[in-house]
């Protein structure tokens, strides 16, 4: 009885074994087929990969060619630092000085009836030729020659021509020649770089219509300090024949120092503060009584009272950078003098200031307004000259601009007023770069 299951399982085993042995060749064929298929798939994969790589390479070639074509359409492609580009030699013409020109034409309408320069006329105010080049590994020169079409004295003037020597002991930079004196902010600017048609009244009255530029020597450096603040000091010895506040005697120099520092209260704002100290000689004219009822005005050729003019000034410029390239600038300068020649000039303590605010509202337009007050050299008393000058600058491009300005001026004493309108066109060409202030 118990043998039946064993016989059944033995029979089943023999049956399966027999059939399994019979199926072996088919499995082998299937396995071979599978293997061939796998090889075919792998081969296809490899082919696909090769094709993909070929396509990518072709795409890269096409891309490079399209860059070349684009470059040729807009100008050739070249590798930086290899062959000089076709136009570059003109821009980098060997050792010749860089040359730039700037023209300023001004039209002015005024209530002033005198037929003097600039009144109710159009005039070429200035035509500057700027030259500059590195002299050797230690130095460079810069020069600005100015041509003007003034009614009375058409002339050529050396506005600036100075030699800069870097790397002096202790890190000093020296400059020698004729340059615009380092006084506040505006005095350093050439006329075309001003936001307004004219210099602020206090600059005109204390230093001359175009500010103070004089031959001399300048040393400047940064003062190291534990607060990591930029503190720049400059000291100048200037020939004394320039600047309306001083003697006008060449051999009596003007000493000038300017100290400035700079802060960034936030990522979008900055504030520059400066202080100017000047000493110069006064040279009051003497009235000589001839004894016959006549008098003669006489000025000592060597000047009198060394350092009889003490001039102090402060400047503050605040910039606020807004999105889309907009910018607000608020600039202020104040100057006051202590003079020993008050008996003749009738004003022992002349002083003046200006405050200018402007808003660059687009790439083309910048409106602004300047307020001036000056208690001038020539007049005594508490009343001074005040002026308000709204203006608008329009940039046709980076190289040409138009300035419109209206000025309402009430002169010292309050009896005389003037309303004037200015129309100024500035244009420049060539290599023209402004020095960093």
């Amino acid at each position: 009885m118990r043998l039946y299951p064993w016989i059944f399982f033995l029979g089943l085993f023999l049956f399966i074994s027999t059939h399994a042995q019979a199926a072996d060749p088919q499995i082998e064929i299937l396995q071979n087929n599978m293997s061939q298929l796998q090889q075919a798939v792998q081969s296809l994969r490899n082919t696909m990969s090769d094709l993909k790589m070929t396509i990518e390479n072709q795409n890269e070639v096409i891309r490079q060619q399209s860059i070349q074509i684009s470059g040729l359409q807009k100008g050739p492609t070249i590798q930086s630092g290899s062959v000089p580009p076709p136009a570059a030699p003109k821009a980098n013409a060997g050792f010749n000085p860089d040359i730039g020109v700037v023209g300023t034409v001004q039209a002015k309408l005024t209530q002033n009836k005198s037929d003097t320069e600039g009144n109710n006329a159009i005039a070429l105010k200035e035509f500057e030729v700027n030259l500059g080049q590195v002299v050797d590994p230690y130095s460079r020169f810069d020069a600005t020659l100015t041509f003007n079409d003034a009614l009375e004295d058409q002339n050529v003037e050396v506005e600036e021509a100075y030699y800069t020597r870097w790397g002096l002991p202790l890190g000093f930079t020296g400059q020698i020649g004729k340059f615009r004196a380092d006084i506040g902010k505006t005095n350093l600017l050439h006329a075309h770089a001003l936001p307004t048609a004219d210099y602020p009244l206090v600059i005109q009255n204390f230093f001359g219509e175009e500010g103070l530029a004089s031959s001399g020597l300048r040393l400047k450096n940064n003062i190291p300090n534990p607060w990591d603040l930029p503190v720049e000091v400059s000291g100048e010895i200037l020939r004394g024949n320039n600047g309306s506040s001083f003697a006008g005697v060449s051999r009596r120099p003007i000493f000038n120092t300017h100290l400035k520092t700079f802060f960034e209260p936030s990522a979008d704002t900055n504030l520059e503060l400066g202080w100017t100290t000047m000493f110069g000689t006064v040279n009051p004219s003497l009235t000589i009584d001839a004894g016959d009822g006549t008098t003669t005005e006489w000025t000592r050729p060597e000047g009198t009272d060394k350092y009889g003019v003490k001039l102090y000034g402060g400047d503050a410029t605040f910039n606020w950078f807004l999105p889309e390239g907009k910018q607000v600038t608020w600039q202020n300068e104040i100057y006051f003098q202590n003079r020993s020649d008050s008996a003749n000039s009738t004003n022992a303590t002349p002083w003046g200031l200006y405050s200018l605010i402007e808003y660059k509202l687009s790439p083309r337009f910048k409106p602004g307004v300047r307020f001036d007050y000056v208690n001038p050299l020539e007049v005594s008393g508490q009343q001074g000259t005040t002026s308000v000058s709204p203006y608008l600058i329009f940039w046709q491009s980076e190289y040409a601009d138009v300035k419109l300005q209206y000025s309402h001026t009430v002169y010292a004493g309050g009896e005389k007023t003037d309303n004037a309108a200015f129309f100024v066109v500035d244009f420049m060409a060539g290599n023209h770069k402004h020095a960093v202030q």
Partner: protein, 313 residues
């Protein structure tokens, strides 16, 4: 009397300078100044904390028109290495170097690293005339928009730093190589994400995206500026609007510091989308380094173009 006082004051200033100069700034790390935040970021990738790096131009301002400040002069004056983009991108670079008067950076000094070396330049003018606007004499200097060029920049910085600081040469080279490897991986990803927009017509505000659009295969049909650096005129805008309509341009690519008013006007007329991209690390503020800056640019474009792709003209 006054002469004596002035002499004493001058002597005091000289003494102060002689005592403190070189002492206060005699730090062991190299003082490196880069003209842009993007170069500073790449230099940081190359040198990590072995340099003290500062950038000059604010990322929020137009690099062409940046006005260097007394602080910039101060930085360059005391710097050991000066990194710049070469060509004539930074028109203010030479006046800044002149003002700083640091003899290490005069001429082609080895302490001054020009990262443009080896870059294939586009749009090189065959003639120089301002009638063509504010063109660049040596070719388009906005090459930093192409991430492939960032690899050349990193290598140039590593080479430059190595020549100033040979002890760390291997360190700089390895970091540059690592950075370039990471950049390669990102470029592959960016190209894949932009692949669907090949040949898509776009408008740029200024010709500052030529390298970027070439890399990712867009087609520039015009600029908002009639000529480089020239503010848009009404006549030009009429023609540009017509061109956008004809060619079904999808986006205006502009930088954050460029005005919005004109692009918005064009968008109102044509339905084109405006996208603000940047080539300056730090603008926007979450673009902390070159990779995140480009990621931001690609992400913004991908988002806008995906929406625009299906737009019926």
């Amino acid at each position: 009397m006054h002469t004596k006082k002035a002499g004493i004051a001058f002597a005091l200033v000289l003494s102060f300078l002689s005592v403190f100069s070189g002492v206060l700034f005699g730090a062991e790390k190299l003082n490196v100044v880069a003209t842009t935040t993007t170069l500073a970021s790449i230099a940081k990738e190359v040198a990590w904390d072995r340099i003290r790096i500062e950038a000059i131009a604010s990322p929020k301002q137009n690099i062409h028109h940046y006005a260097p400040t007394p602080k910039d002069v101060f930085r360059v004056k005391r710097a050991d290495v000066f990194i710049h983009e070469g060509l004539d991108l930074e028109a203010w670079r030479q006046p800044l170097l002149d003002a700083a008067g640091n003899p290490r950076f005069l001429g082609e000094g080895k302490d001054s690293i020009d990262v443009s070396r080896g870059i294939s330049l586009l749009e090189i003018p065959t003639t120089l005339s301002r009638a063509e606007g504010d063109i660049h004499a040596f070719g388009n200097p906005h090459y930093i928009g192409d991430p492939e060029n960032a690899k050349i920049i990193a290598s140039n910085i590593a080479e430059g730093l190595a020549s100033v600081d040979p002890e760390n040469a291997a360190f700089y080279q390895k970091n540059a190589s690592d950075f370039n490897g990471r950049l390669d991986a990102k470029i592959k990803d960016w190209k894949a994400r932009m692949a669907g927009f090949q040949g898509i017509p776009v408008v740029t505000y200024h010709r500052s995206w030529s390298y970027f659009v070439n890399r990712f295969g867009f087609s520039v049909i015009g600029e908002v500026e009639p000529k480089p650096g020239i503010p848009p005129t009404a006549k030009h805008l009429v023609a540009l609007i017509q061109q956008i309509k004809n060619k079904n341009a999808k986006v205006i690519i502009k930088e954050y510091f460029e005005e919005n008013r004109t692009p918005k006007k064009i968008a109102e007329e044509t339905g084109i989308r405006i996208v603000n991209l940047s080539q300056a690390v730090g603008e926007p503020e979450n673009a902390k380094d070159y990779l995140s800056l480009m990621e931001q640019n690609i992400g913004l474009l991908e988002e806008v173009l995906s929406k625009q792709k299906g737009r019926v003209s």
